[in-house]
Every structure is written in C-alpha cells, then in structure tokens.
C-alpha cells in the first residue's frame, strides 16, 4: 500500500519533470536536431532560394574542395584564428593576473572598466575601431606620428597590417574570458601560495605551477568557446566589406557562407560550407578536449 503510493508519487514527479523539460526538448528537435539533419541533406542538393532541392550527390562537396573562393576564405579564417586564439587566452589571462594582484588598488572599479568594452554592440565596436584606426584621421596614427613614425599604415586597408589590426580589435572581446579566469584565480586556496612561498618559489613559479594548473578548466572552457566564436566571426568583416573598398583580406568563411547562401541564394552549396565548418569546429574541439586530459587539472577529481 505504502510502496505503491511512493511509486505513484515518483511517477508523478517524473511526469512533472518532463513537463518542465518540454520547452527545451521541443526546441532541441525543432531548432537544433531537425535543422542539423536538413542542412546535411541540403548539402547534397542543388537547392537555390525559391527553387526545389534536387539531389546532386557530391557535387557541392567536390566544388567545395575546388573552389578558390572557399579555400581562400578558409585560409583567411584559419590564419586569423591562429593568431587570435592564443591572444584571446593569454591577454585575458595576464589581465586577470594583474586584476588579482594584491598590490592593486580599486580592483572592483577597474574590473568593471576592463569588462565594459565587452558590452559594446559589435556593430558599434566596428565603427569605433575603424575610426580609431583610420589612416589619416585616426587617433592611433596621430599618436604614432607624434611619437616620430613617418608613415603609419592604413591599418584596415593594408594587406600586411589588417590581421594585426583585427587582433587588436578582438582585444575588446575578452571580457568574459578575463572575468572567468579572475574568478578561477580567486578560488585558488591561499595556503597553496603560502606553502610555495615557504619553499622559496618566486612569483613566476607560483603563477606557472599553481595558478595556471588550478585555473586550467577555465582556460579549456574559454579555448573551446573561442574556437566556436572564431568560426562565426562575421560582424566586422561584413560591416567593413559592405563599404566602398572591398577587401579580399576580409573574406572570412562565415561572410563567404552568408554571401553564397543569402546574397546569391545558393543554399545547397552554402549548406555544404556550413557542414564543412561544423566538421572543422567539431574536430578542433575534440582535439582540444582530447589533449586537455594532459594539461587540465581537476581538483578533487
């Protein structure tokens, strides 16, 4: 009697659980799993906007590997990623270490101010940086000229300098990484530092041997998110390209995908690009997670 009552209570609890879970379950099928499968299917069709999809086998995929525009934009993206990825880990790491310093006054205000650029809408950020980096009238080049440089480059419209310029612009996007790393650092027990100090470890040793391993899970988290974010890099290349001077250095893969699918309407081919991108992101993520077993330290686990 009593047992059946608890069982029916459990049953009731489960039912309520599914009810509360249902928005996500429905959303997962409707906006994740189903579109995921459909875009895989579309990548094997000649689907254009307004038309009907016809199976064309591996045509899109063959085209993908032979299309110079696609391989160019992939190269642009990967090249930028190779510079931006380490920067978007190391810069917030150093910033967090600085903001965690016991010798820093006004920590709370400084933390808020360093985080603030992250709040700026991406589109505003593009225009703000574009003006700052302007070859003739930008503040940066005024400072460089004042400091004695004779002919500073027009950063965003110079094939050599655009990548460094985009990396600098990207520094405004490190707010979340900085904040999570800082919180990770604050969670490191102070006894560990004291014990290390007694053993004669210097500041650098303590940072490398204690701080870094202790916050390595946070670094992993930010590494994965940065990889995904870099694959979706869009607003800046889009906003700068739609102006008068088109720059091939800004043909990032996501912009290429947008142009292929939405501007020219080749949705089938765009789906193949999307899946190709997804495969790369997945491989990179799996690679990072796989190697993380060697460098990520989980306290108590």
């Amino acid at each position: 009697m009593k047992q059946s009552k608890t069982r029916s209570l459990l049953q009731q609890q489960r039912t309520w659980g599914w009810i509360f879970l249902s928005p996500w379950i429905a959303g997962f099928f409707l906006f994740t799993l189903f579109p995921l499968m459909v875009s895989l299917y579309l990548s094997f069709t000649d689907f254009d906007i307004g038309g009907k999809p016809h199976w064309n086998g591996l045509d899109n995929w063959r085209r993908l590997f032979n299309d110079p525009a696609t391989s160019h934009s992939l190269w642009i993206t990967l090249r930028f990623g190779m510079i931006m990825l380490p920067v978007s880990i190391i810069f917030p790491l150093l910033l967090a270490a600085l903001l965690n310093s016991k010798y820093l006054a006004g920590k709370r205000v400084l933390r808020v101010l360093f985080y603030m650029p992250y709040m700026v809408p991406a589109i505003s950020g593009v225009y703000i940086w574009q003006s700052f980096l302007n070859g003739q009238t930008g503040l940066l080049n005024r400072i460089l000229v004042w400091a004695g440089m004779s002919d500073p480059p027009d950063w965003l419209f110079n094939a050599t300098w655009i990548s460094p310029a985009l990396v600098v612009v990207g520094l405004w996007g490190v707010g979340n990484a900085m904040l999570t790393m800082l919180a990770g650092m604050q969670g490191v027990p102070t006894e560990m530092y004291e014990a290390a100090r007694v053993d004669g470890a210097g500041i650098l040793t303590r940072f490398l041997r204690i701080t870094l391993p202790m916050i390595s899970p946070v670094i992993l988290y930010n590494l994965v998110l940065t990889i995904i974010g870099l694959m979706q890099y869009f607003v800046l290349p889009y906003a700068l390209s739609s102006q008068t001077r088109v720059n091939p250095e800004l043909q990032f893969i996501n912009l290429h995908l947008y142009q292929t699918g939405f501007l020219y309407g080749h949705m089938g081919y765009a789906s193949a690009i999307a899946w190709f991108l997804f495969a790369i992101a997945l491989l990179l993520t799996i690679f990072v997670l796989y190697t993380s077993r060697r460098w990520v330290y989980y306290a108590g686990g």
């Binding site: 489960r14 309520w16 996500w24 875009s39 820093l104 603030m116 505003s124 969670g187 906003a239």
Partner: protein, 357 residues
C-alpha cells in the same frame, strides 16, 4: 642584538609598509595606464562624434579635437585667423588681404590700429583653431537614423525575448535541478554540447522553415526561438537552484503545494540574483544581435533594430564620420548603462557559467 631592539623592529615594519605602498602605487599606475590605452578608441569616438566635418573638410589636416578654424568678423566679413610672428612675437591675426609676398592682417584685439603688413607666404602660416563641439551631430544622427523607431523595435524584440528566455529556462532548469527524470544526465550533456554547435549549421534550414511559414520580414523569428530555452541560461539557473536548501520546498509540499506552486512561491523568490542575471544576459544579447535581424529583416527598414539600422545608415553615410560615431555611441549607451547598474548580478552570472562545472 641590534635586531631585537624595538627601534629596529619599527623601522622593519615601516620598510615593509613603504615597500608595499610603493608596489601598490606602481601596479595601480601601470593598470591605469593600460586601461587608458585599452579604452582609447572611446576617446576617439567622442571627439569625432562632435567634429564639425564640413567646417574642417578643406583643411590639410583634420584636428583631433572638435575644433573649427577661427574667424574674425571685420566690417561684416569673416576673415580666417592665423598664427603670425611679427617682431619675433607670436600673434593671432585675421588675414584680410592675402598676397604672395606681402599680406595684410588685422589684429582682432585691436582692430582700430588698422592693417598690419607681414612679409612672407601666408600659405605657410598655421590657421588658428577654436574648440567648437558640434552637438547638433547627435540631433542630426537621431533623426537621420530614425533612432526612436529603431529604439522601439529593439526594445520590443529584446523584452519579448527576455520573457521567453525566463519562462522557458526557469522551467527547464527546475526540471534538471529537482526532478527524477530517467536519462537526465545524458540529456544534460546534450544540452551543454549544443553550446559548441556553430549556428551556421542550423541556419539555412531554420531560415527556410521561417520563410515557409511566412515569418521572415517579421519579428517572430527573433522572438519565438527564445521560448525554447538555451544551454547557457539553463545551466546558470540550474546551478543556482541546486544551491537552494530543500527544506522550504519540502515544507511547502507537506502543506499540499504542487510543483508549479513550489516553483512560483519558493524557488523563484529565492533566485532573484540568477534571474536578473539571465534577464540582463538576454537583453544585452538581443540588443547587440546583428546576424539574425540582418537576414530575417532584410529590407524591412521599419522593423529593424538598432544594430542593423545603424549599419544600413552608416554604409550610406561613409563621408560623415561624425554621424557614424554619433550613432555608434547612441547604440552602446543603453547596454553599457544597464551593465554598470547591474554589474554585480551580471558578473556573478558570467562566473557561474564559466567556472563552476
């Protein structure tokens, strides 16, 4: 022996304190310097947004500060003011009659003294600038970009999205935190792994789906998907719900409260910090979102939010950097103010999603 004397001890502590003070000053100064470099583009934005672009367009070099060439009105006519050295004394004089070898100037401070002759090429003189911030730029940008309309659009999209996110994420997080669902752990892993899914891979079918049901060109694709929960906010709320003590819920259940009433009367009243964080996250996300409104509201200029409206406007007004900077400033004001007001909730939320596993 000397080390044990009280005087030595005091000076030892003093030395330590001095060292500490010095290091603090040094580290803080360095950080402030770094901060000012980091935020320098804002300074550039402000001065450009106040620049009188037309007034400085003919100058060889655009001044950094919002300055315009200084002029002096003499007998009903405006004359440009230059820096002239006469008798090795620098003076600011208005150029009345320019000439290749000899030019005639007038002293604005003493116009009755008559013309002053100066030998040399006036083109080599430096024109005097005066500070004149042009606040009308903001007025002009406000009306040209139709800011009130964009603002209203953005606000509606963001607020409806916040409501949807809160409703769905609170329910889903509650389910994950409290209910014995079979396979819950696997479901949770699936939920979290959707974070690493690049949105392009679901984009095209989702777009086709919305265009099939005639939702493109409306706000619905920007609002409705948020009623189906998302991984970040569910994770944040679930972590928070897990920290709540169960006693209150048990007591409410004993009193006959069902799960819905427990959620509304016990869980939610204790979870305001996390709920506020989620609301702000979504609001800022919706405010700054660019890609989705770009594709779903293509060409619908009356429905576009600030982000797209500003881009459309700025792509056309490339020759007016002052207006571009003014609109960029206007677009960032609200999210930045909200962030400053609620930064504690906000940062706590970021930390929970990023650090706690």
């Amino acid at each position: 022996m000397a080390a044990n004397s009280p005087q030595m001890q005091i000076s030892y502590y003093q030395a330590r304190q001095l060292r500490r003070f010095g290091l603090t000053a040094l580290v803080t100064l360095f950080t402030l310097l770094l901060l000012s470099v980091y935020l320098m583009p804002f300074a550039n934005m402000m001065t450009v947004s106040l620049r009188d672009v037309l007034a400085v367009s003919k100058l060889k070099e655009v001044p950094l500060l919002p300055e315009v060439p200084s002029v002096y009105n003499y007998e009903g006519k405006d004359y440009p003011v230059f820096q002239v050295t006469i008798d090795s004394e620098p003076k600011e004089l208005a150029l009345v009659k320019p000439g290749r070898q000899v030019s005639q100037f007038i002293d604005p401070e003493n116009p009755d003294a008559g013309f002053i002759e100066w030998e040399g090429n006036w083109r080599q003189l430096v024109q005097v600038q005066k500070l004149a911030p042009r606040w009308e730029n903001f007025e002009e940008a406000w009306t040209q970009v139709r800011f009130p309309l964009l603002f209203r659009n953005t606000l509606i999209i963001a607020v409806v999205g916040v409501i949807g996110t809160l409703l769905s994420c609170i329910c889903v997080a509650y389910a994950f935190a409290r209910f014995p669902i079979p396979g819950k752990n696997i479901l949770f892993v699936i939920l979290i792994s959707t974070i690493i899914l690049p949105n392009q891979v679901t984009l095209i079918p989702t777009y086709i789906f919305f265009s099939e049901i005639n939702w493109t060109g409306t706000w619905l694709p920007l609002m409705i998907p948020h009623f189906f929960a998302n991984a970040y906010n569910v994770f944040l709320l679930r972590q928070y719900f897990l920290t709540l003590p169960k006693e209150l819920e048990d007591a409410a259940m004993v009193d006959g409260a069902g799960p819905l009433r427990v959620l509304l009367q016990v869980i939610i009243p204790q979870s305001w910090p996390a709920i506020v964080a989620v609301a702000i996250f979504h609001f800022v996300f919706a405010w700054n979102d660019f890609f989705a409104p770009l594709i779903y509201l293509l060409g619908k200029r009356d429905l576009q939010p600030i982000s797209v409206g500003v881009q459309v406007f700025n792509a056309r007004y490339g020759s007016r950097p002052d207006l571009i900077q003014a609109t960029s400033l206007m677009a960032l004001v609200l999210p930045v103010i909200i962030f400053f007001l609620a930064q504690r909730f906000f940062m706590r939320g970021v930390v929970i999603t990023g650090v706690e596993k």
